[in-house]
């Protein structure tokens, strides 16, 4: 607190702002006589003293006033000085009301309580409100104004007016005006004032304002009621718009999760024609890699926790990629051209991987922490945007772009595409097709591992993690069209947004069922997905 005060002093001096107040704030001792005066006289005089304290405009007097309201402000009989007390057995612990330092203890008979009645309590509340409204810290003023908005106490209009007059921060000023409007609507002021207030609130346009205005609409009549009705309609419209924006955001967020889960599959299934039922387990391996990295960091280098995800990313890529290459070399390469058998074999592998993870890490969920920059949320208009969802969308887009770059701009990508399009021709041109197969499969699996790092931030890390994504991933790839990464992107985003728009009407489960039925019907119409590759072969 003293640091803040010093800072304000410096700031005040440099900018030439109200130097008087700044100086008054520097020395709590200058306030002491005023505080000590509280102990003298009857209620009326105490009230006057409270007024004098508020007039200083110094937030340092707030603790004393709060204590007075709560009935824990006592004065020492011997010298008349005032303390905040806390009962400790038979004695009282004394705290200085201004500096908030401990001042020893006092016996029961040495101190006496400063009495307050209901009227005084009200005065104190109002005083505290206006004091915090005048606080030097804009954040404090903001919270105070928000509190007034919620309380809608007509008594605080006066305090707000005073605070508004000296307010310099625009965002705080806005909240104060809204708080004032809310209070005005709750008071018995004249119609013109109220209509003004309604306008202020309808500018605000959020749910708080809406519920307030609906209240006004039902409780008032005449011009005010009409104004409120118009304002309610306006707000409802804007809220509906914001709601769809929020739904689209949720949809994109779900879509990017689907994209992350499916994009690796789009490579192995789409580009190579291999149905990898163990794909979900690659995601799981990535998530468990994150868990292991975080555990190591926790035990050996706690300072690195904020960077744990960046450390986990390459490791997860390597871990899943190597497992993928091992699967390709060990099993899948014997099964090329027999996609249904591949499906069964990789399903077997997925069972083995699941059980292996269950044996090593146990069947329960594992705790993967969010770094600070991944937790929390911010408001954009009427939308709430959580940081982890936002970063996952960004991350999904980066992964997609990176993958496109690898496939389109590198020689490895060129080889992959060549083998995809015409294996024999590619082989005759000197491309080592078995190597390309293995590396492409490794790339797809590695991407799944990276997805696992991201999904570990929003989902439970358990041996069943992959199972939850495998069907959705297949739906995305099949819907988007096999062999086309753009299709996967469009497919994932479409399914995500459609799912989120269905949810409010049909519920989460029914919405998902509708999406599944929709995909089944869609496949009838376009058996090769949204963006099918064109070809001439009959037996495709």
């Amino acid at each position: 607190m003293s640091l803040v005060r010093t800072f304000i002093l410096l700031f005040g001096l440099i900018a030439g702002f109200s130097v008087n107040i700044a100086i008054a704030q520097t020395d709590p001792e200058s306030l002491r006589p005023l505080v000590n005066e509280l102990a003298k006289g009857k209620y009326a005089e105490t009230e006057k003293q409270i007024g004098a304290l508020v007039a200083t405009g110094d937030p340092a007097v707030a603790p004393a006033l709060e204590a007075l309201g709560a009935g824990v402000l006592f004065y020492r009989k011997s010298d008349g000085s005032v303390f905040i007390t806390e009962k400790a057995g038979k004695t009282y612990k004394l705290t200085d009301p201004l500096t908030l330092e401990a001042k020893g203890e006092a016996g029961k008979r040495e101190v006496k309580k400063i009495k307050v009645n209901n009227k005084l309590r009200r005065v104190i509340r109002a005083a505290l409100g206006s004091l915090t409204l005048m606080a030097p810290d804009p954040e404090v003023r903001k919270t105070a104004a928000e509190a007034v908005f919620k309380a809608r106490d007509p008594d605080s209009i006066e305090a707000l007016d005073i605070a508004l007059a000296s307010e310099t921060d625009e965002s705080v000023q806005l909240i104060m005006e809204q708080a004032r409007a809310a209070a005005v609507l709750n008071s018995d002021m004249d119609e013109a004032q109220k209509i003004n207030a309604i306008e202020t609130l309808s500018e605000m346009g959020n749910r708080d304002a809406l519920s307030l205005l609906i209240n006004v609409q039902s409780s008032s009549e005449g011009v005010v009621r009409d104004a409120a009705t118009i304002a309610v309609e306006k707000i409802e419209k804007s809220i509906a718009a914001w709601d769809s924006a929020q739904n689209i955001w949720y949809g994109l967020s779900l879509g990017s999760v689907l994209l992350l889960a499916a994009i690796g599959l789009a490579i192995t299934f789409g580009v190579m024609g291999v149905i990898n039922m163990a794909h979900g387990e690659m995601v799981m391996i990535g998530a468990y890699t994150t868990f292991v990295v975080q555990e190591l960091i926790r035990t050996s280098a706690p300072g690195l926790f904020e960077y744990s995800l960046f450390i986990a990313l390459p490791l997860a890529f390597l871990a899943s990629g190597l497992v993928g290459i091992a699967i390709e070399r060990g099993v899948i390469r014997w099964l090329y051209g027999r996609p249904l058998e591949t499906l069964l074999a990789t399903w077997g592998i997925s069972l083995i991987l699941q059980q292996a993870v269950r044996s090593i890490f146990g069947p329960t969920n594992r705790e993967v922490g969010n770094p600070d920059w991944m937790s929390g949320a911010f408001e954009l208009g009427q939308m709430t945007i959580t940081y982890n969802r936002m970063w996952i969308i960004v991350f999904a887009m980066l992964v997609f772009a990176g993958l496109m770059l690898v496939l389109k701009k590198t020689s490895f990508g060129l080889n992959t595409r060549a083998v995809t399009q015409n294996r024999r021709m590619a082989a005759s041109m000197g491309i080592r097709t078995p190597w390309v197969d293995a590396l492409t499969f490794g790339l797809g699996s590695g991407i799944a591992g990276i997805a696992g790092v991201a999904l570990s931030q929003i989902d439970n890390v358990s041996p069943n993690l992959g199972q939850g994504y495998i069907i959705d991933s297949f739906m995305v790839v099949v819907f988007g069209g096999v062999g086309n990464l753009w299709g996967t992107l469009v497919g994932a985003m479409t399914l995500g947004v459609v799912n989120k728009f269905l949810e409010p009407y049909a519920g989460a489960v029914l919405g998902k069922i509708f999406v599944l039925v929709f995909i089944i019907l869609f496949i009838q119409k376009r058996p090769r997905g949204l963006f099918a590759l064109k070809g001439r072969a009959v037996e495709a």
Partner: protein, 412 residues
């Protein structure tokens, strides 16, 4: 006419199989009911129920083998038909509870009373009569399969795509049946059954009867499948499996053949489910899980796809192993099952029965040629050729994978 149909179904292998199954149908219930408990030949009731369960699984596997082994349709959603048949039977059994439920409501099953439902939903009407429920056991899965197949086969959705949408179908049903609003007991499903056709469902005689019924159903369905696959229709099915487009160009309406065999298979799966439910005493949405359907496919693959007998053997063997493993070494079971998947697809592409008969044929051929060389005058008999075995059985060399087409490879 009928006799020729049945005659076609029989040969030595089918004969042996039927004999073993027939013996089991007679001996197991007899061993349970007639042999005193002290005797070493006594079959305990739990074993009867367990074996009855295996038989229903075998019937399900048979249904999958019919579409996969003979028509090339890899269904990853057959558990859906199985569970639907099971639910139809479960609804009948629920209605039989009557006032003996926890809440004692004469009409409404317990879970509906619990959810404050006032009257029976329309789709529960009629399930108090056995004949109606029995009809629904085949009709509901059959109808769903017909509608699904009608769309899918007409649009020429094939191979992997078909497999994935069958999976989507069973997944959607799984989610739907988990909902309480559906009126099928939600998460808990239907359970706490009391009696079936007036017989106490817990009684030894009922258990033995259910075992015999399962065995009988398996025999009848086996005969139907056998006759079907050895008929001209069966030949067309195999042609569709091996070269769909060529069959179509020859003038066959491929989608009609597929639709017929697909619907028939779904009905068989429904019957299997209906026999399964009274034996295990519960049906819940977990039966719809996509993993279950995939497991059925592996039973068929292990036994030998396209052999019918193999499907039955595979189902019984794998489930016996599962029972044993999950009791003795629960940690190992998934490793073993996963290993089986990989091992069978890599090293036994024809399954147990397929590999056996291949070895048998090779042995006979060697004997015949040896007889020729020895100058024996014994007339050489041509080795019997099994029309059922899949065509693509060779494992391609890794250096030259089978796919020459200038096409991306999601090809089947």
């Amino acid at each position: 006419m009928m006799s020729s149909f049945l005659f076609r179904a029989m040969d030595a292998r089918a004969g042996i199989f039927m004999a073993i199954l027939g013996a089991a149908i007679v001996l197991v219930p007899a061993g349970n009911l007639l042999v005193p408990e002290t005797s070493p030949f006594h079959v305990p009731t739990y074993a009867v129920t367990l074996m009855g369960k295996y038989l229903t699984y075998a019937l399900l596997a048979l249904a999958v083998d019919l579409v996969w082994g003979y028509c090339g349709i890899l269904s990853l959603g057959h558990a859906a038909f199985f569970a639907l048949g099971g639910y139809a039977m479960g609804m009948y059994l629920m209605r039989q509870i009557g006032t003996r439920g926890v809440y004692g409501d004469p009409i409404l099953p317990d879970f509906m009373v619990f959810l404050n439902w006032q009257e029976l939903p329309w789709y529960w009407y009629g399930f108090d009569m056995f004949w109606f429920a029995a009809l629904m056991v085949v009709l509901v899965p059959g109808l769903l399969a017909f509608i699904f197949g009608w769309f899918a086969f007409r649009s020429r959705v094939t191979g992997v795509y078909l497999s994935i949408i069958t999976q989507a179908l069973t997944y959607a049903l799984l989610l739907a049946f988990f909902r309480n609003d559906m009126g099928f007991g939600g998460n808990n499903g239907l359970t706490d059954f009391k009696d079936l056709l007036g017989f106490d469902i817990q009684a030894d005689t009922t258990r033995a009867g259910l075992f015999a019924a399962s065995g009988l159903a398996l025999v009848v369905c086996f005969l139907i499948c056998r006759a079907l696959t050895r008929s001209k229709l069966g030949k067309v099915l195999v042609a569709v499996r091996d070269a769909e487009s060529r069959t179509r160009f020859l003038g066959y309406r491929v989608e009609h053949y597929k639709l017929f065999v697909w619907t028939l298979s779904a009905m068989m799966a429904g019957i299997a489910g209906a026999l399964y439910v009274p034996q295990v005493g519960i049906i819940n949405p977990g039966e719809f899980a996509p993993a279950n359907s995939i497991e059925v496919v592996i039973w068929v693959a292990i036994g030998g796809r396209g052999t019918l007998v193999g499907a039955v053997i595979g189902a019984v063997l794998v489930n016996f192993a599962k029972t044993w493993f999950t009791a003795a070494l629960p940690e190992i079971w998934l490793f073993a099952l996963g290993g089986l998947f990989v091992f069978v697809t890599l090293f036994l592409p024809k399954g147990i029965v397929g590999t056996f008969s291949q070895g048998w044929t090779a042995l006979r051929q060697r004997k015949i040629s040896a007889a020729y060389e020895a100058g024996s005058d014994e007339p050489p008999t041509a080795p019997p050729h099994s029309p059922g075995a899949p065509a693509n059985v060779t494992i391609p060399k890794p250096s030259a994978p089978v796919s020459g087409a200038a096409e991306p490879q999601p090809a089947e």
